[in-house]
Each structure stands twice: as structure tokens, then as C-alpha cells.
């Protein structure tokens, strides 16, 4: 397998990042470790969004719904049926996959902003359904889960993140990944070249939902609690912000995006910049500023700095219709 210079740099960078993440617990308190675990959760969630939107070009804002499905799977299995938490993760992935395929099928008929808004509506509808069928889901009071130390959560989250990252990387390098990118760049061309559109588009949804489901499971474990509000409007919006700030169509931007949405608001609060009431104001302003200054996200900035001059990145942006002017 020929390894390009870009890939070699990428692998080295990945190893460096992995080592940093592995060593961080030595310097952080238990509370900060659970924050670190949340960053891991967002990492996985944003990655899932990237697969269906950044790589396959189908705008899905419904990751919150799949996270909810995965999270509730874990919660119900551990709380009501006494399962071991880690064992529920693969189940959550499977359930998520099924849900993703179910969503992906009608999505075949929709495009662009209509798809975006429908998936957004799904993300908001699912928590409401959870609220409604409370005997099953614990309703608004929610379900409690066994607690774990910050370190356990951190390790679990990042090991999961690592596994998901490697699997995604392999997937995207392979045949499925090429098919996804073909679908994103031109559905017409892809279909004419024999790419079975419905299969790959639905597959993208399924995989992305499976990953989001796992993210939801870990999220629920980190909070050791689940209720519908955990997976509300804010979550879906933050995942989207994280994905774009990080840079769509790039696996690297994901970590920047995850850190941005979780750590910045937290950092603003703890730094006592001003009253806690002003944190959302500042965060919102920063998001706008970031969009004005780095429209294509951190990954694009990194690319330009390092001059990888990757044509593929440009074509990503242009095929999403998201190139900068």
C-alpha cells in the first residue's frame, strides 16, 4: 500500500495527538477529566456528522436524535436490565445503524436545505417522543446510571474515539469512502459510473447514525444520567457548529471542533471573564467572528499553513457548494 507524504504526516500527527491525549490525565483533576471525556463525546459526534455531510454530501442535522437513541439504549439496558455499560455500546451502535437506515431511506428523496431541516426536525422530535413514553424512558425525570470516576470516563471516551477514528479513516480510504465522495461531488456522475446511489447514501446515514449512537451512549455514561433535555436543541446545534468550525470533509478538524464547542464556553465561565450570564453572548460572538475569519474551518487553515496544497480539499468545498468566494 503506497503511503503518500500527506498520509505519512497524518499518521505521525495522529500518533502525537494520541500520546498527548493519553498523557493528559496525569495533569488534570477528576472534574476536568470528565470534561475531557465530554470533548471525546463531541469528537465522536462531530465525526459522525462529517461522514454523512462532509464526505457524502447529505446534510443531516439529526445527529442529536441518533445520540438520543444510542444513549437511551444504553440507559434502558443498564438501568432496567442490569447490563454492563460497556457491553451496551455495540448494541447502541447497531440500534443507531438501524435508525440511520430508517431515516436514510426517505432521505433519498430529499436534498439540500430540505434534508437539513427535516433531519433537524427529527433531532427535536425524538426527545419529545422520549418525554412522552415515560414509562419506557423515565420521562422528564430520566434514568440514573452507575457513576464512574473521571479517569474511567476519560479513558472510555477516548478509547472509543480512537477506535471510531481509525475505523472511519479506514472506511473513508477504502471503496465505500470513494463511493461516498463520488456521491458528494456529483450524484449524476457517480450513478453513471455504476455507484449504487441508494445503497451508499443509506449506508452513509446508517454508519453515521451508528457512530452517533455510540457517542450518545458514552455521553449518557459521562453524565451518569439521561433525560430528554440532554439531547435537545442545543446539542444538535453545537455539533453542527463544531463540525463547521473544525472544517467539513476533514477528519483533522474534528478534534478542533470538539474542543471549541466544549472547552470555550467552559473556559469563559471559569476564567470569570465576566458574569456567567455573558458567556453565551461572548461564545456567540466568537462563533460569528470565527466564521468571518476562517470560513472553511480550522482544517482549511491548517492546510493553508502547511501548504499541503491538496486539490482534494478544494474539490470538497466546491462540490458541497461551500467554497469561499
Amino acid at each position: 500500500m503506497r503511503i503518500s507524504r500527506g498520509t505519512a504526516y497524518g499518521v505521525v500527527a495522529a500518533v502525537v495527538v494520541a500520546v498527548v491525549i493519553a498523557l493528559l490525565p496525569l495533569t488534570l483533576s477528576d472534574y476536568h477529566l470528565s470534561t475531557g471525556a465530554t470533548v471525546g463525546v463531541f469528537f465522536v459526534a462531530i465525526l459522525s456528522l462529517n461522514i454523512v455531510t462532509g464526505y457524502t454530501g447529505q446534510i443531516s442535522l439529526g445527529q442529536g436524535a441518533f445520540m438520543a437513541i444510542g444513549g437511551y439504549t444504553t440507559a434502558i439496558l443498564t438501568h432496567n436490565h442490569g447490563w454492563n455499560d460497556i457491553a451496551t455500546l455495540p448494541v447502541a451502535a447497531l440500534v443507531g445503524f438501524a435508525a440511520g437506515v430508517i431515516v436514510g431511506l426517505p432521505a433519498l428523496r430529499l436534498h439540500g436545505v430540505y434534508l437539513a431541516l427535516i433531519t433537524f426536525a427529527v433531532a427535536l422530535a425524538v426527545p419529545q417522543i422520549a418525554k412522552n413514553y415515560s414509562n419506557f424512558t423515565g420521562g422528564t425525570e430520566g434514568l440514573a446510571l452507575p457513576t464512574h470516576s473521571g479517569l474511567w470516563l476519560y479513558r472510555t471516551a477516548w478509547i472509543v474515539a480512537g477506535i471510531v477514528f481509525v475505523l472511519s479513516w479506514l472506511l473513508l480510504r477504502g471503496r465505500a469512502g470513494r463511493a461516498f465522495r463520488a456521491v458528494r461531488d456529483s450524484e449524476v456522475a457517480a450513478a453513471s459510473s455504476g455507484v449504487a446511489l441508494p445503497i451508499y447514501k443509506t449506508l452513509a446515514f446508517g454508519i453515521s447514525a451508528a457512530i452517533a449512537g455510540v457517542a450518545g451512549s458514552v455521553y449518557v455514561l459521562v453524565n451518569n444520567f439521561v433525560n430528554p433535555d440532554v439531547f435537545g436543541l442545543t446539542l444538535s446545534l453545537y455539533i453542527l457548529i463544531g463540525a463547521v468550525v473544525g472544517g467539513l470533509g476533514s477528519l483533522w478538524g474534528v478534534i478542533v471542533g470538539a474542543a471549541f464547542v466544549e472547552l470555550l464556553p467552559l473556559g469563559l465561565t471559569t476564567a470569570h471573564v465576566s458574569s456567567s450570564q455573558s458567556v453565551p453572548v461572548i461564545f456567540g460572538a466568537v462563533v460569528i467572528a470565527v466564521m468571518a475569519l476562517i470560513p472553511l474551518g480550522a482544517a482549511d487553515l491548517l492546510r493553508r499553513i502547511l501548504h499541503f496544497g491538496s486539490k482534494t480539499k478544494e474539490s470538497v468545498q466546491s462540490s458541497l457548494g461551500t467554497e469561499a468566494r
Partner: protein
């Protein structure tokens, strides 16, 4: 040249379908017959229309901006809430309700105009549609945070514009509040329509929205038209917000319009995102349908209303993927 672009402009073709108007006519007939036969039905229809009126104002605001820029303004609801708080503040300082209403409209216009200049234009300059959408989400967070910062998070009491009077007509009780809400929301959308159809600036805005490049060639300053559009959208949002806050079931708090925004999205999508008329029809339909569902179908609890709206959206989109009045896109492989 790509087939999947995030928000692709469709090629124009004249609409030829008679199915949609027929379906709407059928719906209206159904509502009228039902209202004549059952007073509960009539009451729920009217209050559903009132809810729909609120959604309609916000939905038209969304369509206004979308038509011109292909951007879904996620902050539209929050801006509406902010302007409603301004109205509350003016009333708190002693203005009469309608005077505060009028002032708020003016302030909303200026505010929307300024927001476009300060927050959106810098992003639009170098970014693309998705970037601006994220900026609007940032704006949403900012504005809701600003409301909490300035006025606090406790619920405020917004006086009602209409005295709590009930009219009786053929055994049915209609509240003045509901009737007034319907009247005001329809009136504001109508006035806006007049503006777009019969004024020079309105025509220029329409031209800038559909063909910005051609509009520049006749001397239209397209970017100012955009700012104007945001100003008008903010005004409509203010109407929606003030009408919503007047309703007894809605509380004036920073997250007041969050749920309503979703219904407005649904209405705009159902109507076809580029059609203000479609948004109004979609909004009224959603308002009425959800109300009737809630009253007549026992297992539809208040929490299931939002999922119900989603099912409605999906049903419409599966049949007409670009909404009832949206432009159909043909993609052959």
C-alpha cells in the same frame, strides 16, 4: 458543475400543478363543514388559525431571508424574542400597548438592518451559505444570552393587547385574542406583500433576491437590499413575538420562540422555502392540524405535537420534495 451543492439554485420553470390548490381547497372545505357541525371543532380551528398566524409571521420572515440568500436564519426566533422584550420594556416604562408595538416595529427594523451589516456581511464576504448559517446559530446563542444578561431569566408578564372578551356566534365561543391575532398576522403579511408588489424598492428587493447579478447591472445595490430584507424580517418577527407573548399559553422568557421557530421552519418547508404564500398556507395548516389532532386524537399529547409536525413535513416533502409551492428540481441519471 456539481449536482449536489448544499443549497442549489433551481432553474426556473413556471408552476403548472393544479393538485396543490385543489388539495388546499379541499382542506378549507373540510374545515368549514367541520366547524358548522361542531362548535368544539370551530373553536379549535380558530385557535389553531391563531397559532398558525404567529407561525406564519415568523415563517415569512424566514422565507424572506432564504429567498435572497439561501440562508436559513436560525436566529430569527431569538431576534423576535429580543424585540418582544423591548416592547415589554417600553410598556414597563409607561407607553401604551399600541404605541410600544409601533415603536418596537421601528426598532426591530433598525436592529435587523444593523445585524445584517455587522454580523452577517463580514461572514458573507468570504464565506458560503453554510458559514452564514453557522453565523446565524452563533447569533442565536448571542441574542438569547443577551436577553438573559439584560433582563434576567425569570418569566416576565406581557400584557395582552386585546381585552379578554369572548364573542358568541351560533353557539361557538371565539376569543377576541384569537381573532385579533389572526387579523394582525394576516394584515402584516398582506402589507408586506403590498410593499413588494407595488413599490419600487419592493420590486428591486425581489429582483435582487431572484437574480442578484442581473440586478446589479440595472443599478440595484444588492447588498443594501439584503440589509433591508433583514430589517423587514426582524419586523415580522417582532409581530410574531408580540402576538405569541400575548397568548396565555406562552411565557415571555429568553427561550420563548424556540419551539415556535421549529413550527415556522416546518411551515416554510411545507410551503416551499421560496414562497411566502406557501409559508402562510403551511403555517395556518400546521396550526389548525396540530390543534385538531390534539383535541380529537386522544393519544396525541402536547409532547407529541412536535413529532406530529415532523410527520406532516415528511409527508408533504415525500410527495413534493421541494414543498407545496417550491420549485421542483429535475435530476435525471
Amino acid at each position: 458543475m456539481t449536482a449536489i451543492s448544499l443549497f442549489q439554485r433551481t432553474t426556473w420553470r413556471p408552476s403548472s400543478s393544479w393538485i396543490v390548490p385543489l388539495a388546499i381547497l379541499g382542506g378549507v372545505v373540510f374545515l368549514v363543514i367541520g366547524s358548522l357541525r361542531s362548535s368544539l371543532f370551530a373553536q379549535q380551528t380558530v385557535s389553531g388559525l391563531a397559532n398558525g398566524g404567529v407561525y406564519a409571521s415568523l415563517a415569512v420572515a424566514l422565507v424572506l431571508i432564504y429567498r435572497a440568500t439561501e440562508v436559513i436564519n436560525f436566529a430569527q426566533g431569538a431576534i423576535a424574542t429580543f424585540t418582544t422584550y423591548i416592547a415589554w420594556q417600553l410598556i414597563d416604562w409607561g407607553l401604551t400597548y399600541w404605541l410600544a408595538f409601533a415603536c418596537t416595529l421601528g426598532i426591530a427594523f433598525a436592529g435587523g438592518f444593523a445585524l445584517e451589516l455587522v454580523a452577517i456581511r463580514p461572514v458573507e464576504r468570504r464565506g458560503n451559505v453554510l458559514t452564514v448559517v453557522i453565523a446565524s446559530i452563533g447569533l442565536l446563542i448571542l441574542v438569547e444570552g443577551a436577553i438573559g444578561w439584560i433582563w434576567g431569566n425569570q418569566v416576565k408578564f406581557m400584557p395582552a393587547p386585546f381585552p379578554a372578551r369572548i364573542y358568541h356566534l351560533g353557539g361557538v365561543a371565539f376569543s377576541l385574542q384569537d381573532l385579533g391575532t389572526i387579523a394582525i398576522s394576516i394584515a402584516s403579511v398582506f402589507v408586506l406583500w403590498l410593499f413588494f408588489q407595488f413599490t419600487k424598492i419592493g420590486l428591486a428587493m425581489r429582483a435582487a433576491a431572484v437574480r442578484p447579478a442581473a440586478a446589479r447591472l440595472v443599478g440595484i445595490r444588492v447588498s443594501w437590499m439584503l440589509s433591508l430584507g433583514w430589517g423587514l424580517a426582524a419586523m415580522l418577527g417582532a409581530v410574531a413575538g408580540m402576538l405569541a407573548a400575548a397568548s396565555p399559553s406562552v411565557l415571555l422568557q429568553p427561550s420563548m420562540m424556540d419551539g415556535i421557530l421549529i413550527y415556522a421552519f416546518a411551515a416554510a418547508v411545507v410551503g416551499g422555502l421560496e414562497s411566502p404564500a406557501g409559508a402562510v398556507i403551511g403555517a395556518l395548516a400546521i396550526g389548525v392540524l396540530l390543534n385538531l389532532l390534539g383535541s380529537y386524537v386522544s393519544w396525541v399529547t402536547p409532547q407529541l405535537l412536535l413529532p406530529a409536525a415532523f410527520v406532516l413535513m415528511l409527508a408533504v416533502l415525500l410527495v413534493k420534495p421541494s414543498g407545496l409551492f417550491g420549485r421542483t428540481r429535475v435530476r435525471r441519471v
